[in-house]
């Protein structure tokens, strides 16, 4: 038995960023399919880099935190909200999707 409640797990991480993104049109990459995820980038007030994750794979919060931290260390974005809908993607797939989204960011 697990003490994790049934349903989706929601996670939120906020990092202090150094590279302001300014105003940009929202970016969507990926699809919510099995072992896949979608990533939506939007501008956000302030200098934070906020990641909001909803995932069907419960109990992997520490791995998500590591993946989010790695992402932030690679890009150091500020003033951005990263929203993720995940259907059990592996950490490598998540990292690739996050990088793909940043690549499509037109600043």
């Amino acid at each position: 038995m697990t003490d994790i409640p049934v349903g989706l797990e929601t996670l939120r991480f906020v990092f202090a960023g150094h590279r302001p993104t300014g105003v940009f049109a929202p970016v969507l990459v990926g699809v919510v399919g099995s072992g896949n995820l979608e990533v939506l980038l939007e501008p956000r007030e302030g200098s934070g880099c906020e990641l909001h994750i909803e995932t069907s794979a419960r109990g992997f919060g520490s791995i998500w935190e590591a993946v989010a931290r790695d992402f932030h260390e690679r890009h150091q974005l500020a003033g951005i909200r990263v929203s993720v809908n995940d259907m059990g993607a592996t950490p490598a797939v998540v990292s690739l999707r996050l990088d793909q989204a940043v690549t499509e960011l037109v600043l």
Binding site: V6, V32, E38
Partner: protein, 311 residues
């Protein structure tokens, strides 16, 4: 010869198909992902939502003409129509009649297993509303074109929606039917229909079969540009007319003709067929080398339109 790289329609996401099918950068989305118009049902079941609920709708230019267009994402819940997904399709269709801008045509890039079972009655009602709205658009004289080429096919309620349209374009990898292979096997047994027999599945629901029977109007290779060309042809005016090509009117007479056609099709096959039933049917449609259809490419098959099609 002018060679170009072929992009598989089946392997593209719904949004990639949209971007490549219409004129470059002309797609303008209604209710885009950032507005988060998502399913209210899925989270309760522990299933993640998609920001667009699995369908993108909007307007675009196709060869310079304004069209309203929707694309279903087959990778999200098999393209299943939930409450919001269906409402987005209905909204797009209704806007074609009631909005300030009347489109030349409405295009639906369908990829769906039908009703999203998680949403049960809400999904069923949504699909029925899509059908009603589609028929209203046709009644208003606006042509509706359905394009099918996703790897999930077009089944269930969306299969019916497709056949409500004026014009259906399919690739040979596309599939169109009411009940999907697994559903038929579950209800009638594996002796009747083995859903794992891919050749059987394509012989009975694939693009080539649908084209031979006349259930789809245009058969193309699995290539986004081939779909684009077919879509442009489908909405281009007849001859020198400057008016949009109108929808085909549905009348009591046309419905009775359709019923007669389906009755004739059912009567065509004898009770006991030696060998494969689909191949036997294609032969009865007048296709000389029916046994070779599976191996033929689309171009070769198109040279052999059977004389007895539309039976």
């Amino acid at each position: 010869m002018n060679r170009r790289t072929t992009i598989s329609f089946a392997e593209c996401t719904a949004r990639e198909r949209l971007a490549l099918l219409v004129d470059a950068n002309s797609f303008h989305e209604w209710l885009p992902p950032a507005q988060r118009v998502t399913s209210t049902h899925l989270a309760q079941l522990g299933v993640p939502s998609a920001f667009d609920d699995g369908v993108a709708i909007g307007h675009a230019q196709l060869a310079g003409r304004t069209v309203f267009i929707a694309a279903q994402e087959g990778e999200f819940m098999g393209g299943g129509v939930g409450e919001v997904h269906g409402a987005k399709l209905v909204g797009m269709l209704r806007r074609a009649i009631t909005g300030t801008e009347r489109p030349h045509a409405v295009l639906i890039l369908a990829e769906s297993g039908g009703v999203r079972l998680h949403e049960a009655n809400a999904g069923l009602i949504a699909v029925s509303e899509v059908m009603r709205a589609l028929l209203d658009v046709r009644s208003a004289g606006i042509r509706v074109v359905v394009l099918i080429g996703g790897s999930n096919g077009c089944f269930g309620g969306m299969g019916i929606v497709a056949r409500c349209a004026d014009w259906v374009v399919m690739s040979d990898t596309g599939r169109l039917a009411m009940s999907g292979p697994e559903v038929i096997e579950a209800s009638h047994g594996v002796q009747e229909y083995d859903s794992r027999d891919r050749a059987l599945v394509w012989r009975t629901s694939g693009g080539k079969h649908r084209w031979i029977c006349g259930d789809c109007d245009v058969l193309v290779e699995d290539d986004v540009m081939a779909f684009r060309e077919a879509a442009i042809a489908a909405i281009s005016p007849d001859g020198d007319s400057s008016q949009p090509r109108p929808a085909t009117l549905i009348t009591l007479e046309s419905l009775e003709q359709e019923h007669a056609l389906l009755t004739a099709r059912l009567a065509l096959l004898p009770d006991h067929v030696v060998g494969d039933e689909a191949v036997a049917l294609w032969k009865l449609y007048g296709l000389g080398n029916a046994g070779d259809v599976a191996e033929m490419n689309v171009e070769s098959l198109l040279t052999q339109r059977p004389t007895g099609s539309q039976i």
